[in-house]
């Protein structure tokens, strides 16, 4: 089948929104399909430019090229195609659930409420016309129902090559692999290290857009006297490197603020039979991580996280058990590419 994977993207920003597209392409090709990825540069920085950009997506001629189109990041779901499958990964959230928060990009004025209403109406119409609508998490599915009145099915995105991840002995290191950004809150993890009582170690891996944030993490580690137990690898690490780090980790940590999905780091850890330490306000992550079952959920403050780290360090049997549960949970949820490809092409 000739399949087009269409998404908007901010150039040179990686992360989950890109992985889901790039990995799906690889898997579809493995299944013998012809796939073309269409990334269209787009952004929501200027609220008034959102509708014209959406119109641009709407005008794209795709029908003659593809038998099926799968869309991802907004506003790609507004493209026209008779076999449009939407794999919805998030709204333009500042016009949805973040409207009544400090993240709202515009004043709460009638003109701006009208813009919000227009965006919601356009989104809803585009979703209703889709052949199928999937989301990457329950949180996003709930938002689709609440704001757009659209029902959807959760289709958790698997990691690219689960087989890459192996489980070795549980070492001393808590590993956190994701973009290094303020909202991923690596600083909480570094601060937690000051309060640990065991010789537990912390490794942060990933690139960030703010050099200052990376510096502040190193500074905090030095000031906290834990620099010898905190490693910051601020670079893009390969999948193999990632797997190697998780293979002998004690556990993973992933503490983003109000993430849309459970996050690839959580699932990668689970494939390596590692549990994840997270926090209750991490959004979709807690869909996967249940406290004391597939990981530990601690309050989003350093002492509580330190306690969780220490608990795992001093009770390896617990770390092993939670890790095993996480691995089992992944297979229960059917997070595998065969299932995903089957559903997207149904």
């Amino acid at each position: 089948m000739k399949i087009g994977l269409v998404s908007s993207a901010v150039p040179l920003i990686g992360g989950g929104g890109r992985f889901i597209v790039d990995w799906l392409r690889e898997k579809l090709e493995e299944h013998g399909h012809q796939v073309e990825t269409v990334y269209v540069p787009s952004n929501e920085i200027v609220p008034e430019a959102i509708l014209p950009q959406m119109a641009a997506f709407r005008m794209m001629r795709l029908q003659d090229y593809f038998e099926r189109v799968v869309t991802f990041r907004p506003p790609s779901h507004v493209v026209r195609h008779p076999r449009k499958v939407v794999w919805f990964i998030h709204h333009i959230r500042v016009f949805y659930d973040l409207w009544d928060t400090p993240y709202r990009p515009v004043p709460d004025r009638a003109t701006q409420r009208a813009l919000r209403a227009a965006i919601i109406r356009a989104d809803t119409a585009a979703l209703r016309e889709a052949h199928r609508v999937f989301t990457n998490s329950r949180v996003v599915g709930d938002r689709l129902r609440r704001f757009n009145g659209v029902d959807s099915e959760v289709l958790y995105p698997p990691v690219l090559r689960p087989e890459l991840f192996a489980s070795g002995d549980h070492g001393d290191e808590i590993v956190c692999v994701c973009r290094v950004e303020g909202h991923k809150r690596q600083h909480l993890l570094v601060e937690a290290m000051r309060h640990t009582r065991t010789p537990v170690r912390l490794r942060l891996c990933g690139v960030g857009t703010s050099a200052e944030y990376v510096r502040s993490l190193r500074r905090a580690a030095a000031e906290g006297g834990v620099a010898d137990r905190v490693v910051v690898e601020d670079r893009w690490i390969t999948e193999e490197e990632k797997a190697a780090r998780l293979e002998h980790a004690l556990a993973a940590a992933y503490v983003p603020f109000d993430e849309d999905s459970y996050g690839f780091p959580t699932i990668e850890a689970a494939h390596a039979r590692r549990c994840t330490v997270t926090v209750p306000d991490s959004g979709g992550v807690t869909e996967f991580v249940q406290d004391g079952v597939t990981g530990l959920v601690a309050e989003p403050e350093p002492r509580a996280l330190a306690e969780a780290f220490d608990r795992l360090h001093s009770d390896r049997a617990l770390a092993r058990r939670l890790g095993a549960n996480a691995a089992e949970r992944v297979s229960e949820l059917g997070i595998d590419w065969g299932a995903v490809v089957g559903k997207l092409l149904a």
Binding site: P11, L12, P52, Q53, M59, M60
Partner: protein, 345 residues
């Protein structure tokens, strides 16, 4: 510096422009402090009426987190960005020279005139906005000047894998590499062989159409030169092609009125091989100069035969021409690092 290369795509079709786009990004990334990626937006030009929407789409893109935009093709170069450097591979030629040549999907009626005016106006604006404009060849630059009144610098496509073409001992054969078809006139070379006794010729490259391969084989039999002719008519892996170039005494390349110097010429020159071409070859003649870096003759079997004989008979002269050819190529400085340097200046 964060660089976005923006081009267009016809889904599932790949050609030279896609290759160039990939190599450009690869080479941008090799440079310290540069992050680069390419995005390609779908482009449909039929029916011509829809070109308006295609232009509107490109002009409506929201490009953020990019310090420099390098668009390659119409209508991608309409995308708004304050720091835009065009490497112009394609305008919509059916609105310009191909229209004049009667080869356009745009009508000759009033509507067609209106569409061409819009394309022209949009193009001109994009060219005005650009910090710099480069074209691949003088032909592209001439076209831009003639139709849009904009000057451009010429930035030819560099060799993607120069390390494969270090040169080597002359193996006593002339190589005709590149695509095989009527336009590249390998048949003239085969006919020339009867005028160049003892000459060994290797034709290596993918035929444009299966008939082109058959025609060449039939011609070799008719001319009775099969024992001196090797036909390797396929898409050769780069290493195989390089081995043939490095071992040749000279390379023959006879396109008709080519836009640019051509990869074949660059590969030969890089490997220190002289190039035999014809006086009507177009852009190739920019660097292939008779008696300096190669041989230029009339496009007849007789003239080509004489030239081939002379090259084969005097390997030392061929080697000297080849050395000078290599030096000339090097002096032009058409390498990826130099190209990237210009695009990011």
């Amino acid at each position: 510096m964060k660089v976005l290369v923006l081009s267009t795509m016809v889904p599932f079709v790949r050609g030279g422009a896609e290759e160039l786009c990939d190599h450009l990004v690869r080479n941008l990334r090799l440079r310290r402090g540069v992050e680069a990626e390419a995005m390609r937006i779908p482009f449909t030009w039929d029916p011509a009426e829809g070109l308006v929407e295609e232009m509107l789409i490109a002009r409506s893109l929201g490009i953020f987190n990019v310090d420099r935009l390098i668009p390659l093709k119409f209508p991608a170069y309409l995308a708004p960005h304050p720091n835009k450097v065009l490497w112009l591979l394609h305008q919509y030629r059916q609105a310009y020279d191909l229209f004049d040549a009667g080869q356009s999907n745009i009508g000759t009626d009033a509507r067609g005139d209106a569409l061409r005016a819009m394309i022209r106006t949009a193009d001109d604006r994009a060219f005005r906005e650009a910090r710099r404009i480069f074209t691949l060849s003088p032909t592209g630059a001439d076209r831009l000047r003639r139709y849009n009144g904009f000057g451009a610098e010429i930035l030819p496509q560099p060799l993607n894998d120069p390390e494969l073409f270090p040169g080597g001992e002359a193996g006593g054969y002339v190589l005709a590499s590149g695509r095989v078809g009527l336009g590249k006139r390998q048949h003239l070379l085969v006919r020339a062989m009867r005028h160049a006794p003892g000459l060994r010729l290797v034709v290596a490259g993918p035929p444009d159409r299966p008939e082109d391969a058959d025609d060449l084989r039939r011609l070799a039999a008719e001319e009775g030169v099969e024992d001196r002719l090797t036909l390797d008519l396929r898409f050769l892996p780069r290493a195989d092609l390089a081995r043939l170039v490095n071992g040749a005494t000279a390379v023959a390349y006879l396109p008709f009125d080519e836009d640019s110097v051509g990869y074949v010429t660059m590969e030969a020159f890089h490997a220190g091989k002289p190039v035999l071409t014809t006086s009507d070859a177009g852009g190739v003649l920019e660097i292939v100069r008779d008696g300096e870096t190669g041989v230029v003759c009339e496009p007849t079997p007789e003239a080509l035969g004489a030239a081939l004989s002379a090259l084969a008979a005097e390997p030392a002269r061929a080697a000297r021409l080849g050395r000078d050819a290599r030096a000339l190529l090097a002096s032009r400085g058409i390498t990826w690092p130099a190209t990237i340097e210009k695009l990011l200046a």
